[in-house]
Symmetry: C2
Subunit: 111 residues, 2 copies
């Protein structure tokens, strides 16, 4: 039986959490569905929770992460900005390289 090492990373802005794994998943679901309601459903999350998460991200980030449209034929929708996409991408690459780094570290140790 071997030990495994795991990690969670997150980005903070102004002492408050800006982006973590859950929020990244939500942003990706928004990009996939084009709607906050559908994104929440696809993650089996309440609309309210999803909304508070994206609101927190949007209000703390240096630039807007999502744009919302209300009303209209389709009812409206939510979309990721280019800046949002870059946030998601760099988060995921850093996260994966962190996993790799930790796997190497634990295999170097004598546990």
């Amino acid at each position: 039986m071997k030990y495994k090492i795991k990690s969670r990373i997150w980005i903070e802005a102004d002492g408050h959490i800006l982006l973590g794994e859950g929020r990244v998943n939500l942003l990706k679901a928004i990009e996939a569905t084009g709607s906050l309601t559908k994104a929440a459903k696809s993650l089996k999350m309440s609309y309210k929770k999803a909304w508070s998460l994206v609101d927190a991200v949007n209000s703390r980030a240096k630039e807007p992460v999502i744009t919302t449209a209300v009303g209209g034929k389709s009812g409206g929708g939510t979309a990721l900005t280019p800046y949002g996409r870059s946030l998601v991408e760099t988060f995921e690459t850093i996260n994966e390289s962190c996993w790799k780094f930790l796997d190497e570290e634990i295999s170097k140790s004598k546990l």
Copy 2:
């Protein structure tokens, strides 16, 4: 305003968490005080919670992490085994190198 990246790491054994930051702190407090009761108090944690934590660590680790004595003049006590000390030490060194790694990664990015 700059983004900061943070992380939590933990070690799993057999699919269950073995050691994380909180447990490491508790083990260090045990080493410092020689008693689970005092360690719990020093961390403002209930005895019950502290006990369940060390019990979980002790039962999942490859070798015993603590030894306990019940009764006697001093009432008893809890001590860290050499293996427990090595667990704590490697956890902390990996944790700190992980922080360093992440700081470098985020400063490389364009956020």
